[in-house]
Amino acid sequence: MNHYSVELQSVSKVFEHAGARWERVVAVDDVSIQLRKGELLTLLGPSGCGKTTTLRMIGGFEIPTRGDVLLEGKVITNLPPNRRDTAMVFQSYALFPHMTVFENVAYGLRMRKMGAGEIEDRVGRALTLVGLDGMERRPPGALSGGQQQRVALARALVVEPKVLLLDEPLSNLDAKLRAQMRIEIRKIQQSLGITSVYVTHDQEEAMGLSDWVAVMNSGHIEQIGTPMQAYARPATRFVADFMGKKTSFLPGVVVGADANETVVSVCDAVLPFRAVPGMLAGRNVELVVRPENVEVVASGQGGFPGRVVHAAYLGSQITYEIVVCGFTITAEVPNPEEREIFTRGNHVGVVLRTRSIHLLPQ
């Protein structure tokens, strides 16, 4: 039989708070996920979108109100965490402060009644894997944030779980370390071929290490796809807006379509875009304009006429905010030294790179 490694079947979670006022919060709403062995899925979304709750349902810390959780084809919906073959890396690391690094990593193996020799062996290998040889005797309090994070990872990996769960594991690290750990986690995950579910609100992190990205919003999945699909071909306006640094939207109307291109009228101009199947003439659309899809040229050298309302020099690029036919769009221009630089109030021409601009039906 060919099972998915992890599967969620229409899972929902409703929290009921009997506080001062009886409240009912739908945290997760009809979420379905299928993940094959060795794949890494990221649950991505703003805080409160239900991504952590979804992860905790896989781990067994929350029981779904409706729907089922399956691990390798077996329903584990109601199984407590200690009896399911998952291991979590917690946001706070949740290291046992009264135990040494070795004892922390060995904990899960001891719970599995493994022999002392094998425990020593496996813990040693896990610590080598995360690059913490020689730290066995230290208490977690004496480690740096990055080292603590490695211990948490080793502790989860050492029990060889069927699925590894990571709950914003890098959010307590500084930016540089975060980028480095991201690469390391992905390398380890791929070398062990371990199925993983990763929660984050950082899209760069999500795109950098995932096979699949599920963008979540108020409890449901807006889009699930490869990182490139989520970024370049967003399914909804929410995804288009959430992904990317600063996305601008321009309204347009489809005036012609064939197998090769879709022609859209935008701000009194008619531009050809990549063909979108099923999008017929007369359809109202929105252009998803990423900052890197915009070229800024001197006024009169083509493009839409626009006026710079803000300019910020960031070293590797200049960010402009430009008003074009009543809409403000953001543009990122790389290599500022090689180009003409505009300042606030300048009139410029705005050229859209139509090949990479996505059309969103309205």
Binding site: F96, M99, A156
Partner: protein, 567 residues
């Protein structure tokens, strides 16, 4: 949840049943007895009691004493707390140490000392002043003095927590904006301390109402409820009258308890401290330092005078007449009182670990598990804190003197009473400690394959060690120093030291009573040392444990170990 974790469900049911039988049922019996005449529900007992003015007086007396003691005790506690936490006074460690004395000794030691010094044959009355002044130590004045000294540490603990949590830079900001020290104190420090002050007032009020040991030997004609209820039962054999007085005592205590827990407890400003400043600055204006130092010196001087008197008194042949030093009192204590000492040690040693572990388990369930009746369980387990010991004692003789559960005269009734009376502080500090332990640490353990019981044993309990320790120490101290409830359930077979002290004072064997008190303090100090060794074994990596449990002690405002109803 019960389906998912049967062990947790069974534990909850067992604890709930035990609380129902040993906390709620005796209380129900007190109410029922006081409200029943000839099998009919009626207020007749209260009506006939309150129709006589000599029965109304104890209520007024108790309330007046409670108000005065709580005001004086809170004032003393505040001065002490402010001086030791916010002012750069010399000898801070010494002052803090002395303030702990009343917490680890039987409260009636204060009365004993007061009699030794200011009584009719007292050292100061006779030897120093040659009878020129009559201190009238028996009655309101004496009680107010000794209870203030016995209970001010409660205020000290609550307020030093509050003041420590207050960011000193707030005071500096006020001074910086042009306030004088007095204005700063009045507009910043005092308002921020108000929730703590209110807490302290109410807690001392509860303690004073419940105090039994001091009034029984020092009250004279100033009758108070806690002792009147006892005398009514032991002297007049009037169980229902005693129960009715107990109910009258219970009402103000419960009001104060609920005010403290649900009203004042929610009004803490402690959280608005902003960023913690690295260096805790202490005020060092010379006039403030010397004022604070003088006041602390006076207060500790009084405490040391009283304790010193008891210590010396235990070696004196006949206080007031013959001051020759002797060991005869100790000889007597160990010969005649050996039974009391042995029983006290046995019963305390058995009940302390039960109390400690049960307290941590209840704290764990209340904080970490969701189940129907969780709040009720927490309330029931904390309730014994608010109920004066006299009420509990009467409840126990009413409830367990007759079938279905006959326990009178057994060791079990004393142990059960100890356990359920001494649990609340352990629960409180356990709850406070748990709230500071990141829940995902326990989840991680569960995730790695441990069940709830294993997680509690291997992760939670070690992390709660400081709370566990204070729960154990508190429990032991209370076992050895308790009188009020215990006096109803002691028997010929099982005796306790505090009862022996009471007996010695009643027989005017003050030197013996003093020797007993010294023995009690020695037992307590030895026990604290042993518990310390057991909870923090020296052979385990000490640094690791300390690093692990740093900062998990109770937060400011938690009910301090000394605060309890009924001695």
């Amino acid at each position: 949840m019960i389906v998912r974790e049967p062990a947790v469900g069974i534990t909850i049911i067992l604890i709930a049943s035990a609380l129902a039988v040993f906390v709620m049922y005796p209380l129900y019996m007190v109410l029922r007895t006081s409200l029943t005449t000839d099998g009919q529900l009626s207020l007749a007992i209260f009506r006939s009691l309150l129709s006589k003015s000599y029965n109304r007086r104890p209520l007024a007396n108790s309330l007046k004493l409670g108000l005065v003691v709580s005001a004086a005790g809170t004032a003393a506690g505040f001065i002490f707390a402010y001086s030791t936490t916010r002012v750069d006074v010399p000898l801070r460690g010494f002052f803090k140490l002395v303030a702990m004395f009343p917490m680890i000794s039987p409260p009636l030691i204060m009365s004993l000392a007061a009699i030794l010094l200011f009584g009719n044959n007292g050292l100061i009355t006779r030897q120093v002043l040659r009878g020129a002044v009559d201190f009238k130590i028996y009655g309101f004045r004496g009680l107010a003095l000794v209870e203030t000294l016995a209970y001010f540490p409660t205020a000290y603990l609550v307020l030093s927590g509050v003041l420590q949590a207050m960011d000193p830079s707030i005071e500096d900001a006020a001074l910086d904006l042009g306030a004088s020290w007095r204005q700063m104190f009045r507009t910043v420090t005092l308002p921020l301390a108000i929730p703590g002050l209110a807490s302290a007032l109410l807690l001392i009020f509860i303690e004073s109402l419940a105090d039994f040991g001091n009034p029984i030997i020092l009250a004279g004609n100033y009758t108070v409820l806690a002792t009147q209820a006892y005398l009514r039962i032991t002297g007049l054999y009037d169980l229902s009258g005693g129960a009715a007085l107990a109910v009258i005592l219970l009402i103000p205590s419960l009001i104060a308890f609920f005010l403290q827990k649900y009203w004042v407890g929610r009004r803490s400003y402690v959280t608005v401290t902003g960023k913690p400043s690295a260096a805790r600055t202490r005020r060092d204006e010379p006039w403030l330092r010397w004022c604070a130092f003088t006041l602390c010196l006076i207060l500790t001087g009084m405490i040391l005078l009283l304790y010193g008197t008891v210590f010396i008194g235990s070696f004196v042949t006949l206080w007031g007449a013959n001051y020759k030093l002797t060991l005869a009192n100790y000889n007597h204590v160990f010969k005649v009182g050996w039974h009391h000492i042995r029983d006290t040690i046995i019963l305390s040693t058995v009940s302390t670990p039960i109390t400690g572990i049960l307290g941590m388990v209840i704290a764990f369930l209340v904080v970490r598990k969701q189940f129907p009746g969780r709040r009720a369980l927490e309330l029931a387990s904390m309730l014994t804190f608010a109920i004066p010991g006299t009420v509990v004692g009467i409840g126990y003789i009413l409830a367990f003197n007759q079938p279905p559960l006959v326990l009178t005269g057994t060791a079990a009734i004393i142990i059960i009473l100890f356990v359920f009376r001494n649990m609340p502080t352990g629960i409180q500090s356990g709850i406070a400690a748990l709230q500071q332990i990141d829940q995902s640490i326990e989840e991680a353990s569960c995730d790695l394959g441990a069940d709830s019981a294993t997680t509690f044993r291997k992760i939670t309990l070690p992390l709660m060690a400081p709370a566990f320790f204070s729960g154990l120490v508190y429990s032991f101290v209370k076992c050895v120093t308790a009188i009020s409830a215990i006096v109803f359930v002691v028997s010929a077979r099982w005796k306790l030291i505090t009862v022996a002290v009471m007996g010695s004072v009643e027989n005017s064997d003050l030197a013996q009573a003093a020797a007993f008190c010294v023995v009690i303090i020695v037992i307590i100090l030895a026990a604290i040392g042993i518990i310390n060794l057991l909870v923090y074994p020296p052979w385990t990596a000490r640094a690791l444990r300390r690093a692990a449990t740093r900062g998990t002690a109770g937060p400011p405002g938690a009910i301090p170990p000394s605060a309890v109803g009924g001695q």
